[in-house]
């Protein structure tokens, strides 16, 4: 039997082959075939006419709608990629509002829309019926839509490989040029346009790191084997360690997993619902038909929020939204979904019944977990580009256009080169703001900000409110903090990092959240029968209870350990955090006191506002007012 993988270009292709074929696959039987098709790629950033007046910190990008629609008009068929489903809804709505003539030739495509709706859009794209489709990553993959000749990316694609993939969705005949446009949603993001071009030209692609020792997936798999024909421990162990993911699985760990599926492990042995697998003459087997059926129903590794179907009262399904969003609505409320204004009628058995609303205003359905961080590769190029500016060596049109913004940054604060680390202090009526600019991406900043806050409170007690974006983060507090002293005291040190992380970021809480998914995959909780899913609330409380039981009575439990590891590795990217701290330690620390938020600090502040308020509209208004105040200076 032969095994072949097909993959787009990523940073770790060699490793991708190893993971696919497994730990023991003979090298002389392995081959990599590379297409090396030099696809002509034409990337352009849309540069706002007046960079300084262009929103400093928007996140929708709608101000460039006329420019975007000009491109659409000049192209045959355009895909407009947005980063979130909510943003898709907003753009779709805005286009129809300002360009009603597009009705009938515009469509939307994202993961929460009904299958039928999506298939229709795909067919219509093939048939060249549509002129423009607003979409999310849901159209990243798959076959080509030949009519598509233009791709527009709204906001940062966050990674080089992803942008490359999306750009490749246009211009399909072998000699055609792929045309791709980058539309920044705020001024500074324009620099990312230059970074993206550089990354693509120099083939700086992100890696996909393989997951190791996922005990939850293994537990599910072992029960799967027990449900069908049963398995023998020794042969199965050997088979499992032949994979890349479990090559380091010890016999002791394997034994613990077997204990777990047969006797519920140490803590759960008293509860027979956890006793799934029986041993008959060395064969691990599930005999209980009910256990087998439940297992088959709950197999899989895709977990996430419970979704509620959206249906018309009169019949007809539109797709699904998160339970949490629907829970906030009252009967009669209006919301936008699937490009329509809908009036919420009632929630019944995990279905939200709606009817078409005539109202123009309403909330946009929102989905959690859609904020991707800037990749470490793109962050690094971004810092290089910034360094060019500080040396006056910039050549990219995007960066040249940003000159007024950088001048203002220099005037008000400082423009750091790659040997410098910038910190800004500003006092407003909200309190004392400390802005740090590592340019490392949102995820790393999430960890660093809590770490810095924790370390500062060791010198002087304070409560911080924290905000961040892909470029930097803000610590806001009521009283002035001894910043210089804190730096001397090891604010940027990577010593005791793990300890400090445990203290600063409620690591328990993060692990608990990770444990929820792990418990699902390992089959510790049952998510319900088809059409009768259990409410998320109930699941949450039962996984939480299990987490506490394990933590208290069996702290070496493999699944709990996995939860902490996942929290550290995926949630915090501990590895990148450490690398960032080491870099910062070697840099010159520049502390500037400013009399108002600088162009770098402003977008970070806006992040805090958009977190505090739920409706985007009020944030937009408030930001507009802040910009007006800035421009008065």
């Amino acid at each position: 039997m032969k095994i072949w993988g097909i993959s787009a270009t990523i940073g770790n292709l060699e490793q991708a082959v190893q993971v696919l074929l497994g730990a023991n696959f003979p090298e002389e039987k392995t081959k990599m075939v590379r297409a090396k098709i030099a696809k002509k790629l034409d990337i352009q950033s849309i540069i706002p006419e007046n960079v300084e007046k262009y929103s400093w910190a928007g996140h929708i990008g709608l101000k460039l709608l006329p420019e975007v629609m000009q491109i659409v008009a000049d192209s045959k068929t355009t895909l407009i990629f947005t980063n979130t489903r909510a943003q898709s809804e907003i753009w779709y709505h805005a286009i129809l509002d300002s360009y009603p003539e597009y009705a009938g030739v515009i469509a939307m495509h994202h993961g929460s829309l009904d299958n039928e709706l999506r298939s229709w859009v795909e067919q219509a794209l093939h048939a060249a019926i549509l002129k423009v489709v607003v979409c999310t990553s849901s159209l990243d993959l798959g076959v080509d839509f030949r009519p598509v000749d233009t791709v527009i990316q709204i906001g940062s694609p966050k990674g080089v490989a992803r942008f490359m993939q999306r750009a490749g969705r246009s211009g399909h005949s072998p000699d055609a040029t792929s045309k791709a446009y980058f539309v920044p949603t705020h001024s500074l993001e324009l620099l990312e346009g230059a970074a993206l071009k550089y990354g693509i030209k120099n083939e700086i692609f992100e890696s996909r790191d393989p997951i190791l020792l996922a005990y939850d997936v293994l537990i599910q798999y072992l029960v799967t084997l027990a449900v069908s024909d049963g398995f023998k421990a020794e042969a199965t162990y050997k088979e499992i360690i032949s994979t890349f993911a479990y090559a380091d699985l010890t016999r002791k760990e394997f034994h613990e997993l077997l204990e777990f599926i047969t006797r519920g492990g140490k803590s759960l042995s008293a509860y027979d619902e956890f006793l799934k697998v029986e041993i008959e003459e060395g064969l691990f087997k599930v005999n209980d038909k009910r256990v087998a059926m439940r297992h088959r129903l709950s197999m899989g590794t895709i977990t996430g929020d419970v979704n509620v179907r959206v249906k018309f009262q009169s019949g007809g399904s539109l797709g699904s939204v998160e339970e949490g969003f629907i829970a906030r609505l009252k009967a009669g409320d209006t919301f936008w979904f699937a490009g329509r204004s809908l009036e919420f009628i009632q929630l019944k058995e995990m279905t939200a019944y709606v009817k078409i609303s005539k109202k123009k205003k309403g909330q946009i359905a929102s989905w959690a977990g859609s904020r991707m961080p800037l990749s470490s590769q793109l962050s690094a190029v971004f810092r290089e580009k910034l360094d060019e500016v500080s040396m006056g060596l910039e050549e990219d049109e995007e960066i040249v256009a940003l000159r007024p913004l950088f001048e203002r940054q220099m005037q008000q604060s400082h423009l750091p080169n790659k040997f410098e680390f910038l910190i800004e202090k500003v006092e407003t009526r909200d309190g004392f703001h400390y802005f740090f600019f590592p340019f490392e991406g949102r995820l790393v900043h999430e960890g660093l900000s809590s770490l810095f806050a924790y370390r500062m409170t060791k010198l002087k007690s304070a409560t911080f409110s924290i905000a961040m974006n892909d470029y930097g983060f803000e610590l806001l507090t009521d009283e002035e903090m001894p910043l210089e002293l804190a730096i001397e005291d090891g604010l940027f040190s990577d010593k005791h990092l793990l300890d400090d992380i445990q203290h600063s970021l409620n690591a328990n809480e993060m692990a608990r959240r990770k444990f929820r998914d792990i418990a699902h995959i390992a089959g510790l909780v049952f998510t319900g029968y088809p059409g009768k899913p259990m409410k998320n609330k109930h699941l949450q409380s039962s996984t939480s209870l299990l987490f506490d039981v394990f933590n208290e009575y069996e702290s070496d439990n493999l699944l709990v350990r996995q939860a902490y590891n996942e929290a550290l590795a995926f949630q915090l990217e501990e590895f990148r955090m450490r690398a960032a701290l080491q870099r910062i330690q070697g840099q010159k620390h520049i502390i500037k006191t400013t009399d108002g938020p600088s162009p770098f600090a402003f977008p970070v502040m806006v992040d805090r506002l958009s977190r505090e308020k739920l409706s985007t509209e009020t944030v937009e208004d408030r930001v507009a007012r802040m910009v007006r105040n800035l421009e008065k200076d």
Binding site: M1, K2, I3, W4, G5, I6, S7, A8, T9, I10, L13, A16, V17, V19, L20, L21, G22, K29, T30, K31, M32, V33, R34, A35, K36, I37, R118, S119, E122, L141, G142, V143, A161, M164, Q165, G168, R169, D209, P210, I211, A214, V217, Y221, T224, L225, S228, D229, A235, E239, I240, S242, T243, F244, A245, R296, M299, G300, T301, I302, I521
Partner: protein, 197 residues
């Protein structure tokens, strides 16, 4: 000079389609017919589905040079795993049109979460030669009684869009599924050898 029937037939097919064969498609053909496993690095829209599927067909024709246009019920030969069930439709259509062109009497099958229980049973009873599926569906197949029979004739497993699965728990599921299939084949091989003594 090509001296195997399968490759000749595929080349002719390219010609009748008036499609130019890219160097990497030829390289893929050579690698596959020489018995390699591995990775095809190709972007979307480069003809990667054909680059992978046609060498498999050439190999099949070489195994059955005289009756490839008549032989039915060969058991599952190719398992094609994709991350999105939405992708199966288009691949299915593309593959079906090739086997139709070549006069191979197969029906390309698909098994995803959308497949009805009756169809799933039919697949288990009489597997199609080519089956498109997802990582989850592969595991569900392994959760069925007497599943090893389904995979007895398996020649090739393809993991499409591997970069999307790598680095996710679904990717780990693929790794585990492949390890199971590899063992099944090895076991069958050694049993066959034992019989021939």
């Amino acid at each position: 000079m090509i001296n195997n029937k399968g490759e000749k037939i595929i080349q002719n097919w390219y010609k009748t389609k008036k499609w130019q064969q890219f160097p990497f498609q030829q390289e893929m053909m050579d690698s596959y017919l020489s018995g390699f496993s591995g990775l095809l690095n190709a972007p979307t829209g480069s003809g990667k589905t054909f680059a992978m599927f046609l060498p498999f067909l050439a190999d099949y024709i070489n195994q059955h040079p005289d009756d490839y246009q008549h032989k039915k019920n060969n058991g599952l030969q190719l398992l094609w795993i994709t991350p999105l069930r939405a992708l199966t439709n288009d691949i299915q259509k593309a593959m079906q049109s090739v086997v139709d062109d070549l006069g191979i009497p197969w029906k390309i099958g698909a098994r995803t979460g959308d497949t009805s229980a009756a169809d799933k049973q039919a697949i288990k009873r009489k597997p199609p030669e080519v089956l498109l599926t997802t990582p989850e569906s592969l595991h569900l197949m392994i959760a069925q009684k007497e599943y090893p029979k389904t995979f007895e004739q398996l020649q090739l497993v393809v993991i499409d869009e591997w970069h999307e699965l790598l680095g996710t728990k679904r990717g780990v599921q693929v790794e585990l599924g492949l390890s199971r299939l590899k063992s099944l084949k090895q076991k069958a091989k050694s049993e066959k050898q034992a019989l021939s003594f």
